[in-house]
Subunit: 249 residues, 4 copies
Amino acid sequence: MSNSNSPLRVTVWNEYRHEQESERIRAVYPHGIHNSIAAPLRTAGFEVRTATLDEPDHGLGGDVLANTDVLVWWGHKVHELVSDAIAEQVVQRVWAGMGLIVLHSGHFSKPFKRLMGTGCDLKWREAGERERIWIVEPGHPIAQGLPEQIVLEHEEMYGEHFDIPAPDELVMVSWFQGGEIFRSGCCYHRGQGKIFYFRPGHESFPTYEHPHVQQVIANAVRWAAPSGLENVVRGHIPVAAEELEVYES
Amino acid sequence: MSNSNSPLRVTVWNEYRHEQESERIRAVYPHGIHNSIAAPLRTAGFEVRTATLDEPDHGLGGDVLANTDVLVWWGHKVHELVSDAIAEQVVQRVWAGMGLIVLHSGHFSKPFKRLMGTGCDLKWREAGERERIWIVEPGHPIAQGLPEQIVLEHEEMYGEHFDIPAPDELVMVSWFQGGEIFRSGCCYHRGQGKIFYFRPGHESFPTYEHPHVQQVIANAVRWAAPSGLENVVRGHIPVAAEELEVYES
Amino acid sequence: MSNSNSPLRVTVWNEYRHEQESERIRAVYPHGIHNSIAAPLRTAGFEVRTATLDEPDHGLGGDVLANTDVLVWWGHKVHELVSDAIAEQVVQRVWAGMGLIVLHSGHFSKPFKRLMGTGCDLKWREAGERERIWIVEPGHPIAQGLPEQIVLEHEEMYGEHFDIPAPDELVMVSWFQGGEIFRSGCCYHRGQGKIFYFRPGHESFPTYEHPHVQQVIANAVRWAAPSGLENVVRGHIPVAAEELEVYES
Amino acid sequence: MSNSNSPLRVTVWNEYRHEQESERIRAVYPHGIHNSIAAPLRTAGFEVRTATLDEPDHGLGGDVLANTDVLVWWGHKVHELVSDAIAEQVVQRVWAGMGLIVLHSGHFSKPFKRLMGTGCDLKWREAGERERIWIVEPGHPIAQGLPEQIVLEHEEMYGEHFDIPAPDELVMVSWFQGGEIFRSGCCYHRGQGKIFYFRPGHESFPTYEHPHVQQVIANAVRWAAPSGLENVVRGHIPVAAEELEVYES
C-alpha cells in the first residue's frame, strides 16, 4: 500500500487495438482510450501510468503491479491475447489488496471472469441508443457528487441476464431505450481487494469524455484503494490460543 | 455535509447513568464513557463534541444533529427515557446521510431498533469472560491497521441469535470463552446514511481504553461519513423524460 | 407452522376501497383485488382466505394471523387507517416466521415501513406506460417457470430511488417506457420471517389477471413459507456451556 | 431438472482414499464417507448414487452430471488428481442450474475454487477439539428442524480468515474450543445454480453419522435443487423490442 500521504498509484490498462486499427475509432479516441481515462484521474490528483496489450508483458511486468494501488482495465476484442501468467498476477494482486476497476467489455476479460467464478456473459446490441444510469445506492462513496442519473445519448446496449454473482453492493442500474436494463455499477470484495465493474464505454462513443463518467471512475479508484489488515493469517495453527485437553483419537 | 477540507464533526452520545450512580463503574470511566470515547477521536483529528441523556433534549437539540456528520451512541439501562421525538430526529438524520455508530447495549436503543426493523434481542451473560473479535472481511476500511483479532480479557458475553437483518457487510465475528459466537461488526445502509454496529463495551470493563477498540471506532467514523448524492429525488414525476404515447384508460 | 403435509395457509389482505368507491376501478376488479389475487392461489393448491380493511380488526383479528403462513398485502390510499395494534401484530408475526408478500403501493403500508426501517418512498407517474420486469437472479425459486421478462403493457411507473435497504436477494428489476428503472422483486429476512416486495399492480390495470404475475405471487408464497428453527433462544444465559474461571471484577 | 413429482437426483462424490489407505479412518467410515452421507439422503427420499475419484471419469462421466440435480462433494488430499475436464464439467453444470454441496476440505477442490474466484484458504488444526455450529439465520430453509446449535465433541478446527466471497446468505458460524470462529454454512448463487458450503466432516471423526449434520445436508439438498427460469437468454440481440430511431455514427 502506498503511504497514506502519497497519492494513490493508478495504472490504466487498455487493449489499444481498435484505436490503431480503425480510423473511425481513432477519431473518437485519438490518443487511445487509456489516455482519455488517465487524464482526468491525473487532474483528480492520482499518480497515473498507462499500460497496453502490445507492450512487453502487456506493460504490467516487473514491479508495475506491485506498485499499483488500483488497476483500471479496458479490453474488448482480443481478451485471449492477454497471457495467462499476467492475468494470474492481476488476480493474485487483487487478492492481496489491489483495487480493480473493470470497464465495459472488460466483463469478458481473463482477470474479471476468474475473480467472479461465473460466465460473465450478457446481452448486447450496437444501435447507438440512449442509456440512463440510475444510482440505486445514493449514499455510496462511488456516488459522491453525482446527479441521480447519468444520461449517455449514444451507447452500446448491455442487457440482463448479466452472468455475475450478486454484487456485494449494487450502486447503479442502467435503462436502455430498446427495452433492457442492466446492473451497471457493481462492487465486490475478493480476498483483501475490492473490485468495481462499471458498464459504459463502448469504443465508438466518447463516453470517457463525459464528466460524470470520469467522476464515477475517480470515485471508484478512491473506494477501491487498498485498506484493511496489514497481515492476514491462514494455514496450519498447531497450537491453540485457548487451553485444550489432550485428545486421543 | 461538512466541507471536505474540514474535519468530520462527531457527536458522542452517552446515557451517562451507570458512571454517576455506581462507584464501581465510575472507577472504570471516571469522566464518563463518552469522554473515553471522545478523547481518542479528537486525537485522530475529528471535531468531537459529547451529549448525554440528562442534558436538555439529551444534548441533541437545536442544530446539533444538523451539524453532526457521525453520531456515536452508547446507552443501556434507560433506553425508554430517550424521547420519541429525539429518536425520530436521529433516524431522519441517518436517512439524510448522517453516519451512526451504535455501541454494545445500544442494540436496544430506539434509533437502532427503528432503523433495523427487527427486535434486536440477543443472548447475554455477565461473567467477565474472554472475547476474541475476529476480522472476517480483511480488506474492509473498518479493519484498517488492525491485527486479525482483538482480544478483550474480560467482557460481557453477547450471543446469537442476534435479531438483526443480515448486515450489508459483516466485518467482525466474536468468539466467547463460554461457547457463544456473535456478529460483532455489522455495516448497514439506510437511506443515504451508513450505520455500524460494534459489539464491545460493557460499562464495567475498560474496553474503550483498548487501542484497537479505539482504532475500530475511528475507522468506523471515517467509513460512516456522509457521502454520495447531494440530492435524492422521489415523489410525483408527472412528465416522463422519454416520449410516451397518450394513454386513454 | 402448518403441518408439512397440509396446504400452506394464505391470507390475502386488501384495502378494498378503490373498487367500492370508483366505478372505473370496479370495472377492472369487480370482486375486489383480493379475490383476483386469491383465486389463482387457490388453484395453485393453497388454503386461501381474504381480509379487508373495513372488516372488524381489518379481518385480521382473533387467531387469523396465528393461523396464517403467508400474508399477502395490498393497500394504497388509506394506510393510516390500519390500526397501529394490527400493524404491530403483523410485524410480530413476521418476526415469528410468517411470510409477507407486499404488493405495489403496499410499499407505504405500516407493516412494510416498520420492517424495512427506511422511508420507503419512490418516484411514481400514472401514464399507462409499458413496464418490462426483468429477472436478474434466474435460478431463484421465485423465478420458477417464468420467462426472462414479464411485459405489462400499461402500468403505473415506480422509479428509483426506492428508499429500501438493499435486498438480501434482488430477483427482478423493472424497465419503464418513460425512462426509469426500479428494483421490483426484493427478498428480505426479518427475524424468522421472509418478506417479498413485488412492484406491479396499480388498481386501474388488470395486472393481477396476468398469468406470469400470478405465477410470481404463487412462487413467492412458497418461498416465504415458514421454515427454519422451531425455537430461537435469546435473553439471559447466566451459566455458560463451557467452563469459565471465576471472575472477580 | 427432474420432474417435480420425481425425487431429487443426488450424486455423492468422495475422494475415497483415506478410508482405503488408513485402517484408522476405515474404522470410522468402513464403507467410505460417501456411503455414510448417501444412506440418510436415501432415507430422506432422494434418489442417490455415489461416485469416487478412482472410478473412470471419477464416476462422473457419461450422463451422470446431466442427470444429477444436486452434487455433494467430499475431497481432501488429492484435489489435483481430479481432471481439469471433469472439474470444468461440474462448474458448467452448476452454472446451468445443478446444486452443489461442498463439504469440509472440499474448500480446496477445483470446482469450489473456480466457482468462488478466491483462494479459499483458511486456518486449520487437528486437535480433536469441540465445535459449536450456531445458526445465525434462523428462518432459513437449511435450518429447518434443527436446534439452535450443533455440538460436535471432536472435530478438526477451521478458522478465519476463510478466503471466500461474502456469502449471499450466511446461515451458520462455528465456535471452536481453541479460540477460533468460522463461517461454516455459506450459500451462493452462481449462474442458475446454488452452492452450499458446509464446514464439518474431518475423515477421522464420525461427523456424518451425527443426525443434525445429516439433517443439514438433506435440507441443503432441497434448498440447492434446480429452480428458476427454464431458459436464460444472453448474446447478440440485434433488434430491440422497443422502437429505436436510426443511429448514424
